[in-house]
């Protein structure tokens, strides 16, 4: 039974956040205030807001649980998150995005790309990708939060989903979106505190850093047969090179999510809201430490839950959680941590979900209103964006909630499996569709309009087709491949089994490559890069005048 304290704390927290969003900050802290009146967004606020948006419940509960299965190899994702997602993103992408956004008067990610490449089609198409696929990502975050909320407060999942969605909707409508970087920063601070306590208590209760790692290493013999067959070599070792688990860990979890973050629309817009590049530089230390404490702690603790569950119930985590990966972290918190920590962790997760969701809905709303309706459909004539933008937010929220509710009702576990892939699908798609032309937009004058469009379309379609028909995790969940071809992935062959008349699956391999486990990013991103380069070489370049508008005048020769 949930304690009265927990329910009370959650209610007070939600009111406090809602109040902050509504009252203090929206009315007095507009972009003009910051940029023109000389007020500055404190770098701590900027970095925490970016970090809190970046890290959702699925990063902590979902990927933390995955670390309970795969082990500490997931720390490669943390490394990429810090190095690419913070250092390279802020230092290399941030400054250039900010300056170009200012020169081109761009306020959304599709708008930046559309103006840089002088293409309303590009702006509209990028907006469609965001508007159509982001609800899947938002739904994954909603479901994660609703599941945790439901379990902790002892209410059914559906009730938790509706209550939480209603609160989010209210929060967004009351103005708790991008303008309120301060609420994000408060939420980020709660997250930081929660995760620091979690790692300290975990290492302390398991006997220290090296001792607990050693004990985890010694559990390697406990790896279940099915995982061992897939290449699992223990929780402090990488899976066997070229095995199905290795491909999943390295190509999907580490590279798919780690690289995808560079081209996330809702994160890229944040660079534009600071006054100068100095603020971006100052935000780097806060962001780096924040991500280390978020995903680093989630993955280390996720792996170490195996030691805890083995000590207490004699089982490894995934067995203790009865096969439910997402249940590992919540179970561990409930059983191993003191009661007061459960309350703090609950706030940590609510904060993680709210800050991510609010910026997702912001991105969906502006994509629909400003990019799609105002620019691509009305060709920039007339405004009318207000209604469309608000409609976009509303549709985004409704579709995300509907996905979380209806898919499970309609398809049961398989429905949830589709949404559970939401984060990975969205990250992969963004990387393939946007990354080559985003890099091209910021660093080179050679990418042409046709090159950018061709690269975006080929990247998006390649990764979508790969998900629908080849990458086993998505193609199985999305069911289309099975309906059309009678097999859950085209990279799986049905061959005769050991018994007469029995057919078994065989994965198609070339050397170390098992195609069904190769992430869409590994196929889509290189293809998009090649197409962008080749088409750009063959088509007409932008005029010097336009390039000067984007990049500024070249420095005078001395």
């Amino acid at each position: 039974m949930p304690s009265l304290w927990m329910t009370l704390t959650v209610i007070i927290y939600l009111f406090a956040i809602g109040f902050l969003g509504y009252r203090g900050f929206r009315s007095t802290h507009t972009a003009s205030d910051y940029m023109v009146a000389g007020r500055r967004i404190h770098p701590y606020v900027m970095a925490m807001s970016y970090g809190a948006t970046f890290i959702s419940t699925s990063a902590i509960v979902g990927f933390g649980g995955a670390a309970g299965v795969f082990g500490m190899g997931l720390l490669w994702l943390t490394f990429l998150n810090i190095f690419l997602g913070i250092f390279v993103a802020f230092v290399a992408f941030g400054g250039r995005t900010r300056v170009m956004g200012l020169r081109l008067d761009a306020h959304t990610f599709p708008e930046l790309l559309g103006r840089r490449y002088k293409s309303r089609f590009l702006q509209g198409a990028a907006a469609v990708i965001i508007f159509v696929f982001m609800p899947l990502y938002a739904s994954a975050v909603l479901i994660g939060a609703a599941k945790y909320l439901g379990a902790q407060l002892g209410i059914p999942y559906e009730t938790a989903l509706f209550i939480f969605s209603a609160i989010i909707a209210l929060y967004v409508i009351m103005g708790g979106i991008k303008g309120v970087m301060y609420t994000d920063a408060l939420q980020g601070t709660i997250m930081l505190l929660g995760m620091i306590i979690l790692i300290v208590l975990t290492y302390k209760s398991l006997g220290g850093i090296s001792a607990s790692h050693r004990e985890l290493s010694s559990l390697a013999s406990m790896v279940p047969e099915k995982l061992a067959k897939g290449g699992h070599l223990g929780w402090t070792a990488m899976p066997k090179f070229g095995s199905p688990l290795w491909w999943t860990l390295v190509s999907t979890i580490v590279m798919g999510v780690g690289i995808g973050v560079l081209a996330m629309p809702q994160l890229a817009v944040r660079y534009m809201t600071v006054k100068s590049n100095k603020e971006l530089n100052r935000a780097v230390p806060v962001g780096g430490v924040f991500i280390l404490v978020m995903t680093g702690v989630a993955f280390v603790v996720g792996a170490l839950t195996n030691v805890y569950f083995f000590r207490t119930v004699g089982k490894i985590s995934i067995a203790a959680a009865a096969g439910d990966v997402e249940a590992i972290i919540p179970m561990y918190i409930k059983q191993a941590m003191p009661a007061w920590f459960s309350i703090l962790f609950m706030l940590t997760l609510l904060s993680a979900a709210m800050s991510t969701l609010s910026s997702q809905f912001h991105a969906m709303g502006t994509s629909f209103g400003r990019d799609l309706v105002e620019q691509a459909i009305r060709k920039g004539k007339g405004v009318g964006g207000v209604l469309a933008t608000r409609l976009g937010v509303l549709i985004g929220i409704l579709v995300s909630v509907w996905l979380g509710y209806e898919l499970e009702k309609q398809f049961g576990k398989e429905g949830i499996a589709i949404v559970a892939r939401g984060t990975a699908i969205f990250f992969g798609l963004c990387a393939c569709a946007f990354l080559p032309m985003y890099v091209g937009a910021l660093w080179t004058r050679a990418v042409t309009k046709a090159g950018a469009i061709a690269g975006m379309l080929s990247g998006a379609f390649a990764s979508l087709l790969w998900m629908l028909f080849v990458h086993e995790k998505e193609s199985t969940a999305l069911l289309l491949c099975n309906k059309l071809f009678g097999v859950r992935s085209l990279a799986i062959r049905m061959v005769e089994g050991p018994e007469a008349g029995q057919m078994v699956e065989q994965f198609i391999k070339h050397g170390k490559i098992i195609w069904a486990f190769v992430d869409p990013l590994i196929i889509g991103l290189p293809l998009a890069i090649v197409v962008t380069v080749v088409v750009s070489l063959l088509t007409r370049k932008f005029s010097e005048e336009h390039l000067q508008r984007c990049f500024g005048a070249p420095p005078k020769a001395v």
């Binding site: 810090i82 985890l216 280390l292």
Partner: protein, 59 residues
């Protein structure tokens, strides 16, 4: 066995996580007061900020 972790690829990841966070800290503090080489014109900033307020207002 470093830090109780057997596989060098895993402890390398563990160490790199901390090292990259340290890199972020050092970088940020070294550049704490460095100004931009070229400041954007005030008019451009003003225009951008006003447009941004309009976008926020639409929500």
């Amino acid at each position: 066995m470093l830090l109780g972790i057997e596989d060098p690829w895993v402890w390398l990841a563990y160490v790199l996580c901390i090292a990259s966070a340290l890199l972020c800290v050092v970088w940020g503090f070294l550049r704490w007061n460095r100004e931009d080489a070229v400041e954007e014109p005030e008019a451009e900033i003003r225009h951008w900020a006003e447009e941004e307020d309009k976008v926020e207002e639409e929500l």
